[in-house]
């Protein structure tokens, strides 16, 4: 309410570094950047803050109670455990951004995994053909759901609830009433089970950090040349340095020997799923943050009527979000099939969907639409994986794990609702 009461005289620049001319020029100081961030958080835009804090608290907690939590073996396990639901959660972010929901993403991943397994094992397709067909299956599923929601106008909750049941049935039919199809293709198995060579891990990290730094610095130089507001150099250095340091720690840890018996089997290097997830993260972030398509997704989620009047094809945006969601669910299904070495009627079932929705929401994606990023899925997915993994190490039963994960999801949704209310009240 304060903003409406305050008289709006031409305001003086607020602080050092806040620019004149509509804030359009000059380099902001670190102080003003920090203040803006605090203002945003107070205004209800929490972003990834709760997830990052939660992750740190949980890691410290489990590390203190079960030192084995911090072992290299467990760290690698954590990443491969979380990868499948992170991929599904990334897709869910697109649907959640529109204020919709896809309850069928879990079983959609199961259907796609079943397609993969049948083509690989029963029909002897090459891995790329089978994986392509699995992803295409996801695309078709998304198209169907999207058309039912956007063109027919059935609420997404109902469409995907029906699909949830339907796909469960399709998985059973595909797998002949519950047989288990094992996967023997070495490439697909490698995704969740094998590691990059230690050298390749370092090379990929160096390339990623280098590319990130180049993009950031080029963008900054371009904006400075045109006289636009730029982030302070310190902030850029912190971001690039942070990525480099965290990446280096992770690669170093993962490159340690994790095998209990080195003579039998050497186990070291970055799991292959990590770069797979990283590529999805970069591609999804690019799509959402740097293209018109991504902007239109945010616009439709924020105010569909305004988007329609601006000439955006709202139905097409809705359909494409469901297509992206189900296609990424297919990728999640492939990762799950690889990790399980097989596909059975439970692949993509039971708690997979709920963990994925939990991951997106815990990461900071709003259930009300319009707010969220792909990286939320990764951060939230890590929180979920840490809870599952840490509580497993502490010897709690599945029952307790479910109850705790459910509570965390409820807390995250509560934070989302409260921060939204706070933003509306202003």
């Amino acid at each position: 309410m304060t903003a409406a009461v305050a008289p709006e005289k031409p305001e003086l620049p607020r602080g050092p570094g806040t620019s004149k001319k509509n804030g359009a020029a000059g380099t902001a100081s670190m102080r003003s950047v920090a203040r803006n961030y605090v203002d945003r958080v107070r205004g209800g835009e929490l972003g990834a803050l709760p997830a990052v804090l939660g992750l740190i608290v949980l890691c410290v907690f489990f590390a203190a109670l079960r030192p084995v939590f911090l072992s290299e073996l467990n760290f690698a396990n954590l990443l491969t455990q979380g990868a499948g639901s992170i991929a599904i959660a990334m897709g869910l972010v697109f649907v959640l951004l529109l204020g919709e929901i896809d309850l069928s993403a879990g079983y959609a991943s199961g259907v796609c995994a079943a397609v993969l397994a049948i083509l690989l094992t029963d029909h002897g397709w090459p891995w790329y053909g089978a994986a392509g067909a699995a992803i295409l299956t996801g695309t078709v599923i998304g198209l169907l759901l999207g058309v039912l929601v956007a063109k027919i106008g059935i609420p997404s909750f109902v469409v995907t609830l029906a699909a949830f049941l339907g796909f469960q049935g399709i998985v059973l039919m595909l797998l002949k009433e519950g047989t288990n199809i094992s996967i023997r293709d070495q490439t697909i198995l490698a995704v969740a089970n094998n590691n990059l060579s230690p050298a390749l891990g370092w090379v990929l990290l160096a390339v990623s950090v280098g590319a990130y730094a180049a993009i950031q610095l080029r963008q900054n130089r371009n904006r400075r040349r045109r006289g636009l507001a730029t982030a302070p150099f310190t902030l850029l250095a912190v971001r690039i340095g942070g990525l480099a340091v965290l990446g280096a720690i992770a690669v170093h840890l993962l490159n340690q020997e994790r095998s209990r018996n080195v003579i039998v089997d050497s186990l070291k290097g970055v799991p292959i799923v990590v770069p797979v997830i990283a590529v999805l993260l970069v591609a999804g972030t690019f799509l959402l943050q740097r293209t018109s398509f991504g902007l239109h997704i945010y616009a439709v989620g924020g105010n569909a009527e305004a988007a329609r009047r601006a000439g955006i094809n709202v139905a097409a945006i809705r359909i494409s979000a469901f297509v992206i969601c189900s296609s990424l669910a297919a990728v999640g299904g492939i990762i799950a099939a690889s990790r399980g070495n097989s596909v059975d009627p439970n692949t993509g079932g039971s708690n997979v969907l709920l963990l994925a929705v939990g991951a997106a929401v815990i990461g900071g994606t709003s259930l009300f639409g319009g707010r969220g990023r792909v990286v939320d899925a990764v951060l939230g997915g890590m929180v979920v994986a840490v809870i599952q993994n840490g509580m497993g190490l502490m010897g709690y039963s599945s029952g307790v794990k479910y109850a705790v994960t459910g509570s965390v999801l409820l807390v995250a949704a509560g934070v989302d609702a409260l921060s939204r209310r706070r933003a509306v009240q202003r």
Partner: protein
């Protein structure tokens, strides 16, 4: 005042089913002027504006724009000619920032990628051209703006595209005193920059503060279109409530409706 109107409507009729909303309406809009469109609830102001903006088709009559008769079938046609309407609900996305809202649906791109730098420059120039200094940063989200600032963004969005006619639907209805003054100042500045501005308003103080001409609708008919300096408050109120005032207004309005 200025010579030829940029937008000229003649003999406009419009019905929704059995209800005729506009009868033989004539309406002129001149560049460099603020034309106030007044009328009681249900007089047909919104319908007239929606017809101008291409949302509803006219049933009959002529639509002249820059001395050419035109057919406007959709909002895109109107926008292509340079007619922009700022609706009362503003149609802004709260979760996007000012620049993103101003360019929504018409983003500047370089290849696949959004050209944020160019959009930011253009948005800053437009806001500066309107002497808007109330926003702290054009990269702040619209959700953090006050009512007056939102109205300002919506208006800036309308003038960004070299539009020639800007129609504002009750821009001050939801604003406080200070913000109303600010928006009216902006409305005046648009006209002084050479745009043709149509201001729909119920507030006589606003109308007399900024308009050059006043067009009064009464039960779907154009009661009168007069220079603001030639009339008084009470004459306009009479035109709005009864369709005539002295020699002004509809000839037989009482007989026709009684």
């Amino acid at each position: 005042m200025t010579a030829t109107p940029i937008l000229r409507l003649r003999g406009i009729d419009k019905s929704f089913g059995a209800v005729q909303v506009l009868h033989d309406v004539s309406f002129d809009v001149h560049p460099g002027e603020v034309t106030a469109l007044v009328g009681d609830n249900g007089a047909g102001k919104s319908t007239l504006v929606k017809c101008i903006g291409g949302i509803h088709p006219f049933d009959g009559g002529e639509y002249w724009f820059e001395n050419e008769q035109v057919q406007v079938h959709s909002p895109r046609d109107a926008a292509a000619m340079g007619v922009e309407i700022v609706y009362q609900d503003l149609a802004l996305c709260d979760n996007l920032d000012i620049v993103q809202n101003m360019f929504l649906g018409r983003e500047k791109r370089r290849g696949l990628v959004l050209d944020d730098a160019t959009m930011e420059e253009m948005a800053a120039q437009t806001l500066e051209g309107l002497s808007v200094r109330t926003v702290k940063s054009i990269r702040q989200q619209v959700s953090s703006l006050s009512g007056g600032q939102r109205q300002t963004v919506a208006i800036a969005k309308a003038v960004l595209w070299n539009s020639k006619v800007v129609i504002l639907d009750e821009p001050t209805a939801a604003l406080g005193v200070a913000q109303t003054a600010q928006v009216l100042e902006l409305v005046r500045r648009l006209a002084d920059n050479g745009l043709a501005v149509v201001l729909i308003s119920h507030n006589m103080n606003d109308v007399f503060a900024v308009s050059d001409r006043i067009a009064a609708l009464y039960l779907g008919r154009m009661a009168a279109q007069v220079s603001t300096s030639d009339v008084t408050h009470s004459q306009i109120v009479e035109l709005i409530t009864s369709g005539r005032s002295g020699d002004l207004g509809l000839a037989h309005s009482n007989g026709a409706t009684a």
